[in-house]
Amino acid sequence: MISRILSISKKEMREIIRDKRSLMIIFALPVFLLIMFGYAVTLDIDEIKLGVLDDDNSLLSRDFISTLNSSEYFTITQVIERESDINSLLDRGNIQCAVVIPIGFEKQVERKQKAPVQFLIDGMDASTASIIQSYVIAASQSFSQNVTKDFVSSRTGMKMIEPINIEPQFWYNKSLDTTQFFIPGLLALMLIVISVILVSISIVREKELGTIEQIRVSPVSSFELIAGKIVPYLIVSLIIAALMIFMGYLFFGVVVKGSYIHLFLGTACYLLATLSMGIFISTISDSQQVAFQISQVVSQLPTLILSGFIFPIESMPVSIQILSYITPARYYIVILRDILIKGTPFETFSMQLIYLLIFATAFILISIIRIKRSEAI
């Protein structure tokens, strides 16, 4: 049995290596996409373009503005003269946020009255707007706290102690760099797309060319054929994974905090699941084109939407959450985040490995049944 599996794998490997053009695409595309996505898919917002309209023009108002400007999130790109200019500046995208300090700002603070400050935020992109809003609130609050502190101490000569002093510390991804967070998802996405497409097309091509018939009239069993097809593409996909992790380190400084053996195990289990999905697709499609399209839809969409790559699974409605269980990427992303970012021990993600193996076994069994029943390969 082993020798027949190996002879199919060897033949397949020869074909893969011989097709230089496809080989180039197989290796270059994921790396290219990783770099492109890595730079594009980021939720970090810094250097918010800020317009300033300071009608008060007092010591305190200038102090407030310079506080905003000194934070890493805001850059003053425009000093606004008239209030009527704000609209067109926001329209043209010259600024993302405008701060308006009315006359009497300083006086009202001194009189211990509430001093209104207006922020106008470009709300076209809801998520960016809400992030800007939270930055704005945080900046204003810390400014008014400082003002109160100064005020109290100048009056009483006492140092005011804040009742609660919050010093947040973020673990695992200390600088809250979203690229770190997205790399696992990208890896899962690229690997599933490439492995599913490669293996399903390789089998359907044999169906189209009729070469599969020579295998069908031979003593090779359906399982041997499937195993013989999975092995070479598992090797190729593992090389792609290694390459992408290396590129993640090179371009985005993502280091593997956990064990490389765990990383290998997790990736191999994930690929077994995706490759058996590809095998199943090949049993239901008759042409390379159909196989390609099904592979793309089945691998890409769920991984983008349901795996927790971009949208957190916890915030999905329950019915969609249940649907997300059939996405192998869901488990792999957990495994990768554990190993790459947290460096947690094996027990934390061992269940995910088992899910992936169950997934792979199920698809292989269905494929074997389909091949036997309907001469589907």
Binding site: G210, Q214, S218
Partner: protein, 304 residues
Amino acid sequence: MESAISLNNVKKTYGEVNALSGITFEVKKNIIFGLVGPDGAGKSTLIRILCGLLKPDEGVIRILGKEMPKDYNMIKDDIGYLSQKFSLYTDLTVDENIEFIAQIHGVKKFHERRDELLEFTRMKKYRKFLAGNLSGGMKQKLALACTLIYKPKLLFLDEPTTGVDPVSRREFWLILAGLLKEDITVFISTPYMEEAERFNEIALIENGKILAVDTPAGIKQKISNTVLEIVCTPARKAYEVISDSGDDEVQLFGDRVNVILEGKNSSEDRVVNLLKNNGVTIQDLRKSNPSLENAFIHLLKESA
């Protein structure tokens, strides 16, 4: 001696279409057996059923003494199949293709046999060529070498010479004839009547039915009468005239008609006069023995 293949009332339908309607015949061991019939007669369907690639709807099939498809796995190493379409890996070399087929059949020491086969098929020069770069005839020889690498006892060839040039075709037949020394039964399908002369036995198939199974000579004897081969213009007119007279069977072949003299009153003179009276110019007239083609058309008309 036990037959290589025995078929009893084998049926296969594709939806509404009857591809095979009750096929029954036997194939003896160590002969070249030809399945002869026009395109769409059911040749490929029958071969694919015999190879285990398709399941019959009905009927009993025994191959090398084993029942199909129940005992199929027991005889997989004894059967070779060469499909109508070239079905080897175009991106592998000649050597690698043979190696692959040998290995999936569990043949470990294939090197010597491979050299022999490449010698035998005069392919040695091309062993490092990619199969995709070979000519049609060489592809066919490679496919043959691949199926012979694991020494099958029964070889199925589905239209091996269709689309192959005449020189390569001749060579292919020589190779096949040489094969019979090796204790092998060859089952070939072909649409070419002239090739049928090369087989030890043939089965004529049309519309999913077997019209006759016999040696080529035996089949020809099914028309005992003389055949007049008449080259004439217009040939179509000649065909209609004789056909309408109703006495003799007439077959049209391009610029000529073949008349099988079988009617009670039929004679060469009657036919010649009939043509002359109807304004057909006779260029050449020859008496000949019936060919397989004549016999086949005759049997077709009989069955219809």
